[in-house]
Each structure stands twice: as structure tokens, then as C-alpha cells.
Amino acid sequence: MTGPQLDPNKPITRPPEPWRQRLIRSLLYGRNVDRAAKARARVGLAMIAFGGVYGIIAVRLIMFAVNGDTHAERRSTRDAIATARPDIVDRNGAILATDVKSPSLFSEPRRIIDKDEAVELLTGALPDLDGAEVRERIMSKKGFAWLKREITPQQQRDIHRLGIPGIGFLRENKRVYPSGAAVSHLIGLTNIDNQGIAGIEKWLDSNGLADLHRAGFASDRLQKPVELAVDLRVEHALRDELLKAKAKYSAKAASGLVSNVKTGEIVAMVSLPDFDPNNPKEAHDPDRINRLTTGVYEMGSTFKTLTLAMALDSGKANLNTMYDARYPLSYGKFKIHDTHPVPRPISLTEVFTFSSNVGAAKIALGQGVEAHKAFLKKVGQLDRLRTELPESAMPIVPKRWGELNTITIAFGHGMAVAPLQAVMGVNAMINGGLLIPPTFLKRTEEEAREIGKRVIKKETSDKVRYMMRLNAETGSARQAEARAKGYYLGGKTGTAEKVVNGRYSKKQVLNSFTAVLPMDNPQFQVLVMLDEPKALPETHGFITSGWNAVPTGGNVIARIAPLLGLEPRFDLAPSDRLILATSKVTQ
């Protein structure tokens, strides 16, 4: 740039700007502007912009602080995992289910530094761990993953000593069932998170315990134990006898139930095969369902009790009403046979003791289809029976109920109910006529009378008692009487032919024996069922109920009657005098 030398004292005069530069300048910065003032304003603008940007960053930081999952939050979720359940005790206070604290192994995969090493050490310490699964869990990006629930304190110590970062333990409540398989079906079981998934355990959850857990109150607090009606001693004796019988007769399944006739309480319930609730894997086997509540069966002759009671209660028949059961009963193309037809007309009592299908069918026909249906509805055989147990089954009832249905249902075929349902019905026939819903919880007689529904007259009930006792004195229940003398028992056998490939089979039967004791003042009903018992030399090739279910029932009664507080009495009169005569007096 060349120009004349200026005297520093002279005012500064600038040389004229080249036109090109002026153009660029005015294009870039505008014309006639005070650049200094403009610059100042723009610095101010830049400051505001920076303030905004830093403000956004600050807001984001604060959002993280407010929404972040803090330590306190994480701790509370951990506590919720280890939920506690109340103890479950039997009617005498013996513990059926309780909580035991045990450590569980978890990992926080993000915290594990050397994942390969961790997998190797852990599978070394716990050989039963699935290596591939553990690897997958540890390699995940999760913050928390269970590795093994409920390990032993020794294992915990060993793993702790390995010093793997990102591996930890939580003390959890583990549900323990000291009585093992004895109460399996009744008590149900819990899952790994200590939530009830079956039986009474599930009932507990659906009745407020789960809510309590959710609110966070149920952890580690002493909770009132839940008292059940079951008697562990009776349960054990029943199960023991059923196990023996199942083995002896090579039966597919065996089940039994003891219920209090006056209160509806279930004192014992066993369904074999059962499972150990401490080992939940077994419980999923479909063969191990609870046959007394979840299964439905044609109950066979046991149903005759209901049929005859219906006839007696209607007043259209009495104990001495005669029925001709010499010949098979024909209905359309079907013929109803009796196994051992009696070559003379028989009384209603004899229909019961001989267990005549033809007789029972004629009795039912005498009442008519609608009355039969209404009666069964009244005694709760047509609807699903609901108890505390979540498991229940809908009875299988013919959709179109004609005379043929009435004929077969009269002797317990053509309709399937849950055995517990039949027990409830029979209870009502002998306890004076009150239908009392069964319960697994404790119940007093007063409570039972309040909720009980009268379904038959007391006199009818007396007559049914007489007939049932007669069965033990002269009928099919003699073998039980022989084994349990002095308890004045009575009962009804049932041999239901099972449907195999659409036909009733002679070889595969479901046998049942319903016993009541003592017959003069009924207190307990005992049901024994054997599924497909095989013939033995000592049964002379017979597979009917009287040869297997009845003796089993006798054995059961001989063992449990003392536990139930029943005294043997050996000087009692036969039923016609003790029951029938006193009944007539009360009339």
C-alpha cells in the first residue's frame, strides 16, 4: 500500500477506498453502519445464546438427577422380592408350610469386568448350573439377572470367596413344606418368587396376601398362621393305607377323603399319585392332578344313595316298596342288567343292599325325569363345586336329559361329578338333611347349620342311615365292618365301569367306597377310590368294589377312628332296632 507520508500531528485522513473493496464491504456488513456498536450488540446476542445452551445442559442434568434410579429405589424393589407368607398349620397346630430364609445368587452383568472368568468360576462352584444359560445371562446387558435361586449357605460362602465383582446374594424367603407330599394337593405350592400357584397357597394370595405384598407390608413380619381343617395325623394314616392299597391292587390311582359330616370340614384329602411341594417339578405332571376336586368321574352305585333318598323323601316310596328287578330293563335298544339278579321282587332296602341297577332305575323312573333332575340340582350335583382350592371341575351333565339318562344316572352312570361333590351330596343324605358346602378351613357346627341348606327331611336321612348300616351288617360293606369293628360304620360301594374306546369296559373300573361312622350319630364320612384295581388271588378274580375299595376303607377307618376321637362300642344293637326304631319314636 503506497501513500504520502503523513505528519502525525495532522488529523488522520483516510485514502479513498477502492470501489471493489467498498462493494464487498457493503455486501458483507451493510452500508453506513456503526460497526463498533453493532459488534457490541452481537456480543450480547452471543452471550444470550450461550446462556441458553448451558441452560439446556443444566436442565438435562437435573432431569437425570430427578428421574435416575437412585439407591433407595433399588433397595425397595429388592425387598419386595423376598416376600413372606404366613405359616399354614393343621387343625392341631402342626406346621404344614412355613418360610425359611435362604440366599439366592444374582449377577449385575454390567458390573462384571471379566465375564468369561465369572462364568467359569461360577459353573465350577455350582456344577449343577447350566453353563450356557449362565453365560447368556451374564453376557446380557441387563442390570440384574438371577443366576440361581435358593442356594445353600455353604455354596454362598464358596461363591463369596471367589470374589467375583458384580455377583451378589439376596436373602429370600423359601417356602418349605415339612410334611412333604402328605398334604400336597391340599396345600398346593408356591413358585420361586414365593407366590402361591396352586391349592391353599393360591387361595391365600387371592385373599389379600398378594395385596399386602404389593403394599409392601408383608415382608418379614410375623403373620397370623392360617389354620386348616385338615388333621395331619389322619392325613398321614389315610395316605399310608392308600399307598398300600394302590400297590396291592396295582391300581392306576388311589384317592381318599375324610370329611366331617356335620360341619363340611375336610379332615383329610389324599390323591395318589401326588407330589412333593418342595419339588415343584413333579406337580406339573398331568397324572398327579387332584382327582377329588379336579377330576370328574361316573361315581357308580354311590349315586344310588341319592336316587333312593329322593324316592323316600318324595313320599312316593318307602323302605318296603317293592320293585321287580328279576329281568333286565329294556329301553329302546339298550338293556340294563344286574350282575346278580334276584329271582323275586325286592324291596327298596334290598335295591340298596343288593345294589340293583334295575331297581334303582325303576325307582328313578317312578319320580320322573324333571323331579330327578331337580333333586340332583338341589343337592349340588349339577353345578361346579367351588371351595377354597382354586382347582375345581365342572360336572359333565347330559345336555339333553331324557328317560334313558335318568335310568343310567340313577345308578351313577352317564353323568360325571367331582368326587368331592358326591361326598357333599352323601353328607346331606346322612347328617339330617343339610347340604353343607365343604371347606378346607375350620368351621364350627353352628356356622355349618347357618349356611347349610335343607334338602331332605330328617326322617329320610334316618332311613338312608339305616340302609347304609345294613350294608355293613349284611351287604357289600361287610369286609370293612370286619376290619373296623365297634365303629358302627355303614356305607355304599360303587363299581363304575370306565368308558374305554366309547364302550363300558368290564375290566377297567373305578371303584369307590363311601363309609360313614358311626351310623347311629354320623360324624365322619370316609371316601376311598381305586382307579383300575387288578384282580388278585385273594379277591377270587373279582375286581368289584367290595373286594378292594371296601377292605381298604376298613383299614383306613380302623386307623383313623381313634385319631378322630371315636370310641369303639361293641354292644350296639343292629340297625333296624338302633336307627329305625329310634327314628320312628321321634316321628
Binding site: I12, L28, R40, A46, F50, R60, L61
Partner: protein, 382 residues
């Protein structure tokens, strides 16, 4: 010594320098020391060094940094201009040397080793360039007959093309933003503001389509499922874990898995161990430094000082803002260090140089001196 009675260079410096700004910078350096202690040992162990390797070097570089910082803050604007020119020239030479003989690390040539020290020449080029650009813009305002703006554009093109050749898009972006801001402050017409904005957007779009890894990063930001977002995820988690008060010193876990925990992601590591309150404090320090420096620039009469101080403050502030925003997943991942907090030897000295100039330019000066300079400049060029 620092008495007002005698005019010594030291007392003069003490009474004119912005002591609050100085205090904030020192506080930031201290925060850097604490966070380095938290963030660097896991990285050092991971690559097989002594756990305190990075920490020791951090302290080691702090000493010359403070000397540079104080030393530079003694300079007059004139000296700053001249030194900037020298530093810029040296940096350009070094960048060229890097391009020619520097080793290639992760696909880029950014480092050159001189006397055992790894030097990233672009770090020192940045502040020097900003000062020179500020000077050119101030000249263009004062002496319209000088083709200052054109020279500023030429310088920018030169530096940017060198940086793109490395390639170093982070630094390029910073340079462009600082230069653009300076141009804006220098009084560019609004038409051009929008024009430049559009150009920047176009450039970004071009980068998106032409440079695969830029595209990848933006895609991952928009849709985290589309690729590996491990670093950002871990950083997010670190903030969440920390909460207001942090897990406590040494309790953090993000630092164990974050590869750049002592450099790019030191902010997240700090949040996890010391809490978001500390992060807010650091954020406030940055905001204070930037806004304080700019308000001093706002107040000064000297155009060069105003431009240079704002330019340096913007450079510093934008770098910090980008780093924190990346840490908080507000913008796509971009490797950028947090000034004075992240580890990095040569970058720390460059920062000290940069902030030293900021201190020098925001010193209070008698108006006469400013006018004298003005007059002198006018004389020189007239």
C-alpha cells in the same frame, strides 16, 4: 509486592486482571484434577500402565499450563497478536509435518511426537487462528481499505482444508463455529448469517452422505437401535446411577467399561461418582468463564480485544458445551474433550495459552492506552 503504591509489572497485572475469571479457571483445573483421579486409573490399568500414569501426567502438565496461563495473561494485546501469528505459523508447519510424517492412529493423522511429547498441533492452531481472525475482522471494521475479510476467509480455508486432510471433523467444526461467530460479531449482515447457516447445514448434509462414520453417528443418535451405542448408553447409565450426590469416590462402574472415560466421557464418570451437583458446579464454572469473558469483551472499547476475547470465549465455551451435550446424549457422538477436565497434555497447554490470552485481553486498560493503540495502528497502516 502487589501494592498500589508502586507500579511494578506484577502489581499492575494483579490490579487489572479479572481475578474472578482467574479464580474460576483455577477452580476448573482443580475439578479436573479430582475427576482425573476418578476417571483415569481404570483406563491406565486397562492398557497395562501404572494406575496413576494418567493422573501423574495430568498433574505434570498442569505446572507448565499454569506458567503459560499466567505468562500469557501478562501480554498486551499487541504482543498477543504477534505471538498468535508466530504460534499459528508454527502450528501450520507442525500440522503439515503431521500430515507428512505423523503416525496414523485410528485412521487419522493428528499427532506428532516431538521430544517425547505427543503434540496435536491443531490444538494450538485453534486459539492462534481465532486471535488472528479477530484481528483481521477488527481491521476490516477500522480500515475498510484493507482486504482483511478476504484474508480471514483465505486463512480459514487453509486451516480447514488442513484439518479435513487429517481428518479431524471435530476441530474443523469448532474452527468453523468460532470463525462464523467472529464474523457474526464483526457485524455481518443478517442475510449472510442465514447464508452461512445454510452452508453449514449443507456441509453437514454432505458429510452425512459422503463420510460414512458421520452418517453412522447421526443415525445412531436418531435411532439408538441401529447400531452400537455402548458408550452413550453407559454414559446415560452413569448419570442415572449417580443421582444428585453420586455413588461416592471410587464407586463408579461406568469408568471401567468406557474406553474414553478419562477424556471424552469424564463428565459422565464424574456424575456417577460425585453426583450431578458436581456436574452442575462444573457447568456453572464453564458458563461463568464464558459469559464473564464475553461481558468484559462487551464492555471494552478496543475492537480487537472485543473480537479476540469473544472468539476465544466462544471457542472454549462451544467445546465444553459439545462435550457435555454428547455426554448427556443431546447431540450425536463427537469426540471432543472437556477443557481442563479431560486428560490431554498438549491440549491442556494450548488451553492454558488460549485462556491466558483471554485473561490478557480482558484486563482493564486505561482508555487512553486503547486510543493510543488505535492511533498507532492508524499511523502504521495509513
Amino acid at each position: 509486592m502487589i501494592s498500589r503504591e508502586q507500579r511494578t509489572p506484577l502489581s499492575e497485572w494483579w490490579w487489572t486482571v479479572d481475578r474472578l475469571l482467574l479464580a474460576a479457571i483455577i477452580a476448573l483445573m482443580l475439578a479436573g484434577v479430582i475427576l482425573s483421579l476418578a476417571a483415569s486409573p481404570p483406563v491406565a490399568t486397562r492398557i497395562g500402565l501404572d494406575p496413576f500414569h494418567f493422573f501423574n501426567r495430568h498433574i505434570l502438565f498442569l505446572v507448565p499450563s499454569i506458567i503459560v496461563l499466567i505468562g500469557v495473561s501478562f501480554m498486551t494485546p499487541r504482543q498477543i497478536r504477534r505471538s498468535a501469528l508466530v504460534v499459528f505459523a508454527i502450528s501450520i508447519v507442525l500440522i503439515l509435518a503431521t500430515l507428512l510424517i505423523g503416525p496414523e492412529v485410528k485412521g487419522a493423522k493428528r499427532w506428532i511426537t516431538i521430544l517425547g511429547i505427543n503434540i496435536q498441533a491443531s490444538e494450538s492452531a485453534k486459539p492462534a487462528f481465532v486471535v488472528i481472525a479477530a484481528w483481521l475482522f477488527s481491521e476490516s471494521a477500522r480500515k475498510p481499505e484493507m482486504p482483511a475479510t478476504s484474508m480471514a476467509i483465505v486463512l480459514l480455508m487453509m486451516l480447514v482444508s488442513l484439518l479435513v486432510m487429517q481428518p479431524d471433523f471435530g476441530q474443523t467444526m469448532l474452527i468453523l463455529m468460532a470463525w462464523g461467530s467472529l464474523f457474526f460479531i464483526a457485524g455481518m449482515r443478517m442475510v449472510w448469517v442465514f447464508g452461512l447457516g445454510a452452508t453449514a447445514a449443507g456441509g453437514l448434509l454432505m458429510a452425512y452422505f459422503l463420510v460414512p462414520h458421520v452418517a453412522g453417528r447421526i443415525k445412531r443418535f436418531m435411532d439408538p437401535a441401529s447400531g452400537d451405542t455402548f458408550q452413550v448408553d453407559t454414559a446415560m447409565e452413569a448419570f442415572s446411577n449417580g443421582g444428585w450426590f453420586g455413588l461416592g469416590p471410587g464407586e463408579g462402574i461406568a469408568k471401567r467399561s468406557l474406553p474414553d472415560s478419562h477424556t471424552d466421557f469424564v463428565f459422565a464418570v464424574g456424575a456417577e461418582e460425585f453426583g450431578i451437583l458436581l456436574c452442575l458446579a462444573v457447568l456453572c464454572l464453564f458458563a461463568f468463564i464464558v459469559i464473564r469473558a464475553m461481558s468484559r469483551a462487551y464492555a471494552t472499547e478496543d475492537l480487537f480485544s472485543r473480537f479476540a476475547a469473544s472468539g476465544l470465549a466462544i471457542l472454549f465455551g462451544v467445546q465444553a458445551a459439545i462435550n457435555m451435550a454428547v455426554n448427556l446424549h443431546l447431540i450425536p457422538a463427537k469426540g471432543m474433550t472437556l477443557p481442563f477436565i479431560s486428560y490431554g497434555g498438549s491440549s491442556m497447554i494450548s488451553l492454558a495459552y488460549s485462556v491466558g490470552m483471554l485473561l490478557a485481553l480482558t484486563r482493564m486498560r486505561p482508555r487512553t492506552e486503547v486510543e493510543a493503540i488505535d492511533a498507532h495502528v492508524a499511523r502504521t497502516y495509513a
